[in-house]
């Protein structure tokens, strides 16, 4: 029991997580890139064209994983924000802060690809489709948390405020999604859903799932990089960090009397 407790305690400290994040990075990044290449090849070249949409459907191999990740990143952000709010674990705040811009990027990607898909399908860049609309609201929720964080100078207060806002947003995301779907059925009963196809052939489904997994791993890879950057920023005055990056010749000059002219003069 105490071993597990100690393990968690270590994992949640910035000092211990910093090297772990560095070690995990290639394990996320390399499979992500390999699967991204394989999935793109399978999806864009090997998979057959859709009998109704032709080649234009192929954008789902980017659009659908991006939309999934936009939701997942929000959950990662909201959960970590809540952890920071309750237990004041600094690392959770760094994770929440790091997840927000990545999630916003995925949301933007989902919106942009959805819009590109709309042009051949509906003839316009934008229709008030329920999924696209709730993605748009999600983008605004992301921008709101990022803006709130930016508007508060005190780091701790900014983290707690963003955490609470993320929590409120997390309760609201399903409600918003449901309300927008409800709204669409009322106002546009004739619209055909994009995913009305009864089942997907495995030649399309497999690359889609591979791409989704690749996007997820890529998300975690970028998250690790951003967490490390966040730790560096937050702990920049701490001793363990300077010990980690201190090079042998530099330390010798620092301790020599002529190495510190500022203190003497």
């Amino acid at each position: 029991m105490s071993v597990i407790k100690e393990y968690w305690h270590k994992l949640s400290s910035a000092k211990h997580f910093y090297p772990i994040a560095g070690a995990l990075l290639p394990w996320f990044l390399i499979p992500a890139l390999l699967m991204l290449i394989w999935g793109s090849w399978q999806g864009l070249v090997v998979a057959p064209a859709d009998y109704q949409q032709g080649d234009s459907y192929r954008i789902i191999f980017v659009h659908v994983p991006a939309a999934w990740l936009s939701m997942m990143a929000y959950m990662v952000m909201a959960i970590n924000g809540a952890i920071y709010l309750v237990w004041k674990i600094k690392l959770a705040d760094i994770v929440a802060e790091s997840a927000a811009p990545i999630g916003a990027s995925f949301t933007f990607l989902a919106l942009a690809t959805g819009s590109l898909w709309g042009k051949p399908m509906w003839g316009t860049w934008w229709v008030w489709d329920a999924r696209l609309t709730s993605e748009l609201v999600l983008l605004f929720l992301y921008l709101g948390t990022i803006a709130l964080r930016g508007a508060i100078d005190d780091r701790q207060r900014a983290g707690r405020a963003a955490g609470l806002l993320g929590l409120v947003g997390a309760i609201n995301v399903p409600i918003i999604h449901f309300s927008v779907e409800w709204w669409e059925t009322l106002h546009q009963p004739a619209t055909v859903s994009k995913f009305s196809a009864p089942s997907m052939h495995s030649s399309m489904l497999t690359p889609l799932l591979v791409m989704a997994l690749a996007f997820t791993l890529f998300f975690f890879a970028v998250l690790m990089v951003k967490i490390r950057a966040g730790i560096l920023e937050q702990e920049r005055h701490s001793r363990w960090l300077s010990a980690l990056y201190a090079e042998a010749p530099e330390t010798t000059t620092t301790y020599s009397p002529e190495g510190e002219p500022g203190r003497n003069g």
């Binding site: 929720l141 707690r160 405020a161 609470l164 806002l165 929590l167 609201n172 309300s179 409800w182």
Partner: protein, 222 residues
Amino acid sequence: MITTALYKQFSREMLGAVRQPGDALAPVVFYLIVGMLFPLALGSDPRLLAQIGPGAIWIAALLAVLLSLHKLFRSDLDNGYLDQLLLMPCPLFLLIGARLLAHWLQTGLPMLLVTPLLAESFGLDYALLPVLLSALALGTPVLLLLGAINEALTLTSRGGALLALLVLPLYVPTLVFGSGAVYAVYFGENPAGHLSLLAALALITLLFAPWAVATALRISID
């Protein structure tokens, strides 16, 4: 002891509104003005106005509530009253609840009272009026409570437009269900589904929002 504190809190807020009626009524006038802008922008075709009316009234209500939020805590933050409130030996969320109730009686209720005027100016069918009023009666507390959370969060932050950026996405469900209820009657359907969802939203918000506002205030004022 707690009931006395709550009553004092409530009566203080109400008394302020009685003594400064112009302050309290500004959002209501704003509500009417925004309603007036729609015909000016879209033309005075009676059929068009009757069709956009419910949605326009809802957007006007939403913006009026948004505008009224700055009166919730700002002046009390400046004069130090809010710090005293946080120190009181009484659950903060209850005090917040009393304050929000007073605020709704000053802005939400007058907005409901002038809604028939706005409905008439859009030439809405009288059959729509009961649904419009009940939807607004259920919806404006939700708008106020969600707004109060974000107002409390942004109380000591920089940036004026931030509040609107945070609040408006959260207003989507209320707007959809609220105007949807009125349009259901407009298209000859039963509005009960919309109103039930709106009531559910109001209950959830009533349950959680005072606590969230209290937490947000403690974050903003440390």
